[in-house]
């Protein structure tokens, strides 16, 4: 009994319920026999991976669903051993090089070459090439991306790459030029509602259009999230109606609490308290950028309009720094301090003259 989101995952391109044109294009690509390298990008919960799996099925048939996980150990040049998991079927490989952090180059070089230099032995296979799906391609280091670009050309007879990313901004131009860019947009709220309705029917839930709409809105157009919320709401309440509260995830609840703290009091001592909570979030694996973004959005409704642009500006400023720096807490704390400073000055009717 898996969760709904996985239980009702569509398996073929035909079963996909939105972005039909995209599905059609992918199908024709799969049938053309000249399958290009793909760079699929879009926000999480839009259905990138599901589409890829369906495409692979279209390419190779159901054999591609027989997947397993291998654990391989790689040795870096400095003799460090890296353990690395590979999900694979007969016909494809799925890797997440960013799992090994800065050593992703080693994995990319070794593994891809190894795969590329091996010919498909299964004569019955529909395609002569194997597909390597690279998750989180936008988290690949520059080195790893550079290692990819030549491989992509040299071994194209044996190998096709499908890169998955949230955005193309971190992917170097040479790679972008060698791939077919496919954007998978987040589903609209209506599309999410449709999916929820369909799933609800399968599960025998009582239909409640209002609730579904609310969930769709709450989910931020993330279908995965919407489905999980949908399930959570139904799991927790025997009877649901429009008013049934949608429980937020733990981390969001905590961030909301932080936002309240920040608004309630502007003192250095409060910054210290907030720091403790930020640390809590960070240690529990919530990415700093997510924290900053969520926090900003939680703060927005609570502040004066005049301040909003200022706060957003600083939020963006520190998000950039989070990406540039290494100790994220410093930047988060600087944002909190800046926010307190700005909003305190605003409350006292003083101009915020900036320093920098």
């Amino acid at each position: 009994m898996a969760l709904l989101v996985d239980k009702h995952r569509p398996r073929s391109l035909e079963a996909l319920s939105y972005h039909h044109t995209l599905s059609d294009r992918l199908r024709s690509l799969a049938q053309s026999g000249d399958f290009p390298h793909l760079l699929i990008y879009g926000p999480s919960g839009a259905g990138k991976k599901t589409r890829i799996t369906a495409t692979l099925r279209a390419l190779y048939g159901p054999g591609v669903e027989k997947i397993k996980i291998d654990s391989r150990v790689f040795q870096t040049t400095s003799n460090r051993k890296l353990e690395f998991n590979i999900v694979s079927s007969n016909y494809h490989l799925e890797i997440t090089p960013s799992d090994v952090g800065n050593y992703d180059r080693v994995v990319v070089q070794d593994l891809l070459k190894e795969v590329a230099q091996t010919q498909q032995v299964d004569l019955a296979a529909k395609q002569r090439f194997k597909v390597v799906v690279i998750n989180e391609a936008d988290h690949l280091t520059r080195d790893a991306q550079a290692a990819l670009r030549r491989t992509m050309e040299k071994y194209s007879p044996n190998l096709r790459l499908i890169l998955l990313a949230n955005s193309t901004s971190n992917i170097i131009a040479p790679i972008r030029s060698r791939t077919l860019l496919v954007r998978v947009a987040a589903p609209t709220e209506e599309e999410i509602c449709d999916v929820l309705k369909k799933v609800g029917k399968k599960e025998g839930y009582k239909e409640n259009a209002e609730l579904e709409k609310r969930i769709a809105k709450e989910s931020g157009r993330n279908l995965r999230r919407a489905l999980l919320m949908f399930e959570a709401v139904h799991a927790q309440n025997e009877q649901v109606n429009e008013k049934t509260p949608i429980p937020p995830p733990d981390w969001e609840a905590l961030i909301a609490q932080i936002a309240d703290d920040i608004i309630a009091e502007h003192t250095p001592a409060r910054i210290l308290q907030v720091r403790a909570k930020l640390y809590d979030l960070l240690t529990h694996c919530i990415p700093a950028t997510t924290i900053l973004k969520t926090l900003t959005f939680k703060l927005m409704p609570k502040i004066d309009d005049a301040l909003k642009s200022e706060v957003v500006k600083w939020s963006a400023f520190y998000e950039h720094r989070i990406r540039m720096g290494s100790k994220v807490i410093f930047h988060l704390e600087a944002f909190v301090a800046k926010f307190m400073r700005v909003s305190e000055a605003h409350l006292m009717g003083m101009d915020f003259d900036d320093d920098f």
């Binding site: 969760l3 999480s44 919960g45 048939g61 007969n90 032995v121 019955a124 003192t267």
Partner: protein, 1104 residues
């Protein structure tokens, strides 16, 4: 024991009088049982007292001449300060002159002078003296008694030995002692009285306490202010004094007290005229010395009124953290112009700084006073000449000020004093006294030097009869002080050659000596008897203390004194476990040949048979000496010869093996005065001129490292004959030992505010330097603590609100700067490795933020950085998330962030909360869900741990029963595993290819292969039947499969293991029948193996 006396006196003259006076008083009453008490009571004190008394007595009898001078001096000067002003000048001139009188005359002398000066006092003083006499003789008797008969009594034993062996030394020492004492003598008396009282009280053995008091008081009566003070001290102000005296007892060496008191005493008198309270009559005598001009000058000093101390009732408990109030920078720093005064103009005056001064920091003020020859004391007493008062002075101090009517000035008053006072303090009483003291000191030094010379000559004559370093090296050369051809280092040349020349740590040296002396005796008793000071159980002694204070010297000297031959091993020798074990074996059971043979013309020294092993620099045993420490500790437990181990830091973990194995003797840094006497002697011998305050500066600057001071003056000798204060300061700064500050100190220093005060002299480089004390921790520590300050920059805000805003602004700026620093840090530690940016990082991450928020840290405890801990727990939890994601991977498409942010909260509700709410009924459902995602029990724990905020693990309270059921049921069933680990390492290059096929050994699960494949089942089957490679691997597979299985069993849970065997059997039997449902498919290029509990069967099927 001369050595004793010397540093005893030299160390803390205050004690001497105590001994003498106390003895007399005590003795008569004691006769019956008092003596016992003395002997038995704490080893520290009683023996000492006895010792000195005995020694003195002994010495006096045989050698009247030597002492005569000193004693008379002693008494004369002693009397002077208190009783008879007129005598003072006389004695000042006298000391050099008088040399002959014998003991009794001396005493008479002393008394006489007393009498002369103060006829009114005669009665008490005569009483005292008579008593004194009586006791002295008693002491003598006592001493003699003890020496012969009690062999077992430690203290006496040592004395006897010493006494016998080194009578000569003693004599010298005694002389030296007295010399040294001359200057402090004056104050001694006073402190002595106090000390005696204290001691009596503390020991609380004596019926004489009352008498004692009486005796003191009459004397004090004479000078009324004294009386006042005495009382003050007895009651409210006693604390510090008491503490001091106690400390003195404990340490035996705390000279500071004495130091302070000496001047104070003097200065008090000088001050007394101006004292508002002091009755003119009484003051008159003392003032007699101050010329009218001086009085004018002193009267011209602008006094301020001290605020009255607050009522005493408030706050009972000690408030921690409230102490930093006055440590901040002065509010109006920079506005103070350092006065230019005559040299040494504050001579004889003593100052106390208290409260937060307006215009100059306390350190600067104290430096100023020291520079002009004044004394700085930490707490006011009746002897304080001036109190320099700032804001928020402690109530206790104010109380003392009020009680004693001390003169209170501010920094302007201090400046005024410095400007107007003539050089060397002019002709004021204090200055006169100072001059006199100085003269005496010089005299003493000269004597000491002469002594040294004599000694050296003697040594030269006997051709190295003594085996000590000095003797060895200087043998044959001797002749006087022409040191021109002497190539020895000064540190060698002037190394102590007698016990009395060791500066400080008297008690410890005595203990060491006693231990060594008793060693053979203890050996006979098999180290079963602890002895009076507990050292009898040990075969080894551990001396530890900072460098340069004479640990090695003391060890060698004691060994020499006790007639042991020294075997030394230090860091220059390898001391690994093996070498310690084998190397020491040869030493531990041997005797020295020196006891039987000697070189040409030398007599055989019978005493040299005994060996002592000195292990120097034990903490220097490093990586090369693996196991050495342990082996050495083991040796210490069974050694048959005494071992003296020496190290700097006893607390290091690696010194742990020596716990309970060695008798620990901590050596402390000697006080400035203890060292100064020695240094002055050396200076004199070398013909260098250095005023005492310069010597003091050198000593303080080096952290009381005698060796370094000697080295410094030897360097100075090369190009100059004299040195002034500034040169001295400069030199000790240049020679400053750079201690690495601890992160806490760094943080306190940079955030404390001192460095950023307008008056601060520290440059940007100084601050950056601070960062480099620990470049890894300092930014982190700063980041942890920067919000805990009370920024100076926000202090002048008009109201609380503005102040808060300002504080926020500063905090924000600091945070921004820290954020900048992190970007720099990334460039340093990231891929670019721009280490040259370190100073920039120092500024951004450390100096600049501190520059905003620096200020008092009161009420805020400096915490250790939490970043490290948080970072590592983040790492741990990240691994957990990865693990979970790895397990769920076959089911979900999300990356690990999605898993954490979306799945974990949902799973938490379905796994953890469900168990919490529904109890054990929910268990099957939970396990079912876990299996469907391939989650293990560990993952379940991880999910629980990953909760945050409302899902915090702290809030999860699962009934133990439910939890137990869950665990039991989970363990009872088998669970699908998504994959196995491969243990083969893939080399980075080379044999990359062709290995892939072998990976098939990975055997995988699927209980719910069906679940996944609900729909596509038929297709799949079809697929399989088409697949040509299904059959192929069968033959090949056998070994691989077996291997896989084995591995699996090993790696994954035991349940699997247990089940496998029966299944195999079953599988074989029922093989054919079971081929239906899921079949295992494998091909050469990849494997899809659905692993379930039937897997073993399938293997066998495929084998067939």
């Amino acid at each position: 024991m001369p050595s004793d006396i010397r540093s005893f006196f030299g160390g803390k003259p205050a004690a001497t009088p105590a001994v003498q006076e106390k003895k007399p008083e005590k003795a008569p009453a004691k006769k019956g049982r008092g003596r016992k008490v003395v002997e038995d009571s704490d080893e520290d004190e009683a023996p000492k007292v006895k010792k000195t008394a005995a020694k003195k007595a002994e010495k006096r009898a045989p050698t009247p001449e030597g002492e005569a001078t000193t004693t008379s001096d002693y008494f004369g000067s002693k009397n002077k300060p208190k009783r008879s002003e007129p005598t003072r000048p006389k004695t000042a001139g006298k000391p050099a002159a008088d040399s002959e009188p014998t003991v009794t005359p001396v005493k008479a002398n002393g008394r006489a002078s007393k009498a002369k000066g103060t006829p009114s006092k005669e009665t008490p003083s005569s009483r005292t003296s008579s008593r004194k006499k009586a006791t002295t003789s008693y002491a003598e008797l006592q001493g003699e008694d003890e020496f012969p008969d009690d062999d077992l009594d430690g203290a006496e034993d040592v004395f006897t030995a010493e006494f016998k062996d080194h009578r000569k030394d003693k004599k010298e020492a005694y002389k030296e002692d007295d010399d040294e004492d001359d200057e402090p003598v004056k104050p001694q008396r006073r402190s002595n009285g106090k000390g005696a009282q204290k001691k009596l009280k503390d020991d609380d053995y004596d019926p004489d306490g009352d008498v004692d008091m009486k005796e003191e008081n009459p004397e004090d009566d004479f000078v009324v202010p004294d009386e006042d003070e005495e009382i003050v001290e007895d009651k409210p102000a006693t604390k510090s004094k008491a503490a001091a005296s106690r400390k003195r007892k404990a340490q035996d060496l705390d000279e500071e007290e004495e130091e302070d008191e000496a001047p104070t005493k003097k200065t008090k008198k000088a001050a007394s005229p101006a004292k508002p309270k002091a009755p003119a009559k009484k003051a008159k005598k003392e003032d007699a010395q101050d010329s009218a001009a001086m009085q004018d000058i002193l009267a011209g000093v602008p006094l301020i009124r001290a605020p009255s101390p607050p009522p005493k009732t408030e706050q009972k408990g000690f408030k921690f953290g409230g102490q930093h109030g006055n440590s901040g920078p002065p509010p109006e720093a920079g506005s103070f112009e350092a006065p230019d005064g005559a040299e040494n103009c504050l001579a004889g005056l003593s100052f106390v700084f208290t409260g937060l001064l307006q215009k100059l920091s306390r350190d600067e003020g104290q430096a100023l006073v020291k520079r002009y020859g004044g004394k700085v004391m930490s707490a006011p007493s009746k002897n304080t000449s001036y109190v320099v008062l700032g804001a928020d002075a402690g109530p206790k101090k104010l109380e003392v000020i009020k009680k004693n009517g001390l003169k209170v000035i501010d920094e302007e008053g201090l400046a005024h004093l410095i400007r107007v006072l003539p050089a060397n303090g002019g002709d004021s009483a204090a200055a006169a006294k100072n001059a006199e003291k100085k003269a005496k000191e010089e005299e003493k030094i000269r004597e000491m030097a002469a002594e040294m010379e004599k000694q050296e000559r003697a040594i030269g004559g006997t051709g190295g009869a003594r085996a000590g370093k000095t003797a060895n090296v200087s043998g044959g050369k001797g002749k006087g002080k022409e040191n021109a051809p002497d190539t020895r280092l000064w540190t060698v040349k002037y190394a102590p050659s007698a016990m009395n020349q060791i500066c400080g740590n008297k008690t410890q040296v005595d203990k060491l000596q006693k231990w060594l002396h008793d060693f053979p005796k203890n050996q006979r008793t098999k180290f079963k008897m602890a002895g009076p000071n507990g050292s009898g159980n040990y075969r080894a002694v551990m001396i530890h203390g900072p460098p340069g204070i004479g640990k090695t010297t003391a060890a060698h000297l004691v060994a020499k004194m006790e007639g042991y031959d020294v075997v030394e091993s230090n860091a220059s020798d390898t001391r690994s476990k093996k070498l310690v074990e084998s190397g020491l074996k040869g030493v531990l059971s041997t005797t020295s040949l020196l006891g039987y043979f000697a070189g040409d013309n030398k007599e055989v020294e019978a005493g040299k048979k005994k060996l002592v092993l000195i292990m120097d620099e034990v903490d220097g045993m490093s990586a090369g000496d693996r196991g050495g420490v342990g082996a050495l500790a083991a040796v210490c437990k069974k050694s048959q010869i005494p071992m003296i181990l020496i190290c700097n830091d006893r607390k290091q973990p690696k010194m742990k093996p020596f716990d309970f194995v060695t008798y620990d003797l901590p050596f402390r840094r000697p006080t400035t005065d203890q060292i100064r006497a020695r240094i002055s002697t050396i200076l004199f011998r070398e013909g260098m001129k250095m005023p005492p305050n310069v010597v003091n500066a050198l000593i303080e600057g080096s952290g009381a490292d005698i060796r370094q001071v000697v080295n410094m003056i030897s360097t100075a000798k090369l190009d100059q004959e004299a040195m002034d204060f500034d040169q001295g300061k400069e030199m000790s700064k240049a020679w400053e030992k750079h201690t690495i500050l601890k992160p806490w100190d760094i943080t306190g220093k940079i955030l404390g505010g001192g460095m950023f005060a307008p008056s601060s002299k520290s440059t940007l480089n100084d601050k950056i330097e601070l960062y480099f004390n620990d470049h890894e921790f300092s930014p982190l520590m700063l980041q942890e603590n920067y919000l805990g300050t009370n920024p100076i920059l926000s202090n002048n805000a008009p109201n609380q609100k503005m102040k808060n805003l300002k504080a926020l602004e500063l905090a924000s700026k600091a945070a921004d700067s820290i954020s900048d620093g992190d970007l720099v840090d990334r460039m340093i530690h990231g891929s670019q490795q721009q280490w040259s940016l370190m100073p920039a990082h120092a500024v951004f991450s450390f100096v600049r933020p501190a520059s905003f928020v620096a200020g008092s840290m009161s009420g805020h405890q400096t915490r250790f950085t939490s970043w490290l801990g948080k970072n590592s727990s983040q790492g741990k939890l990240t691994r957990m998330v990865k693990e979970i994601q790895g397990h769920m991977r076959l089911r979900t498409s999300g990356d690990r962030h999605e898993v954490r942010q979306q799945y974990v909260p949902t799973l938490w509700k379905n796994l953890v909360q469900k168990l919490q709410v529904e109890g054990k009924e929910a268990v099957p459902e939970i396990i079912d869900l876990m299996d469907s995602y391939f989650l293990t029990k560990d993952d379940w724990d991880a999910i629980m741990e990953l909760g945050v905020g409302p899902m915090d693990m702290e809030n999860v309270k699962i009934e133990t029963q439910a939890k137990a059921t869950f665990t039991r049921m989970y363990n009872a069933a088998t669970h699908p595993l998504p994959f196995m680990k491969s243990s083969s390492v893939l080399a980075p290059k080379g044999k990359t290819t062709k290995e892939k096929p072998d990976l098939e050994e990975a055997i995988d699960e699927s209980d719910e292969g069906e679940a996944v494949d609900d729909k596509p089942d038929e297709e799949e089957d079809m697929d399989l039947s088409k697949d040509k490679y299904v059959a192929k691997p069968k033959k090949k597979k056998a070994p691989a499969k077996a291997k896989g299985k084995g591995k699996k069993a090993a790696e994954d849970e035991d349940e699997e293991d247990e089940e496998e065997k029966p299944k195999k059997a079953k599988g074989k039997a029922a093989a054919k029948g079971e081929t239906t449902g899921e079949r295992t498919l494998s091909s050469l290029t990849g494997v899809i193996v659905y692993m379930n509990i039937f897997a073993p069967d399938l293997f066998f099927i495929s084998l067939k």
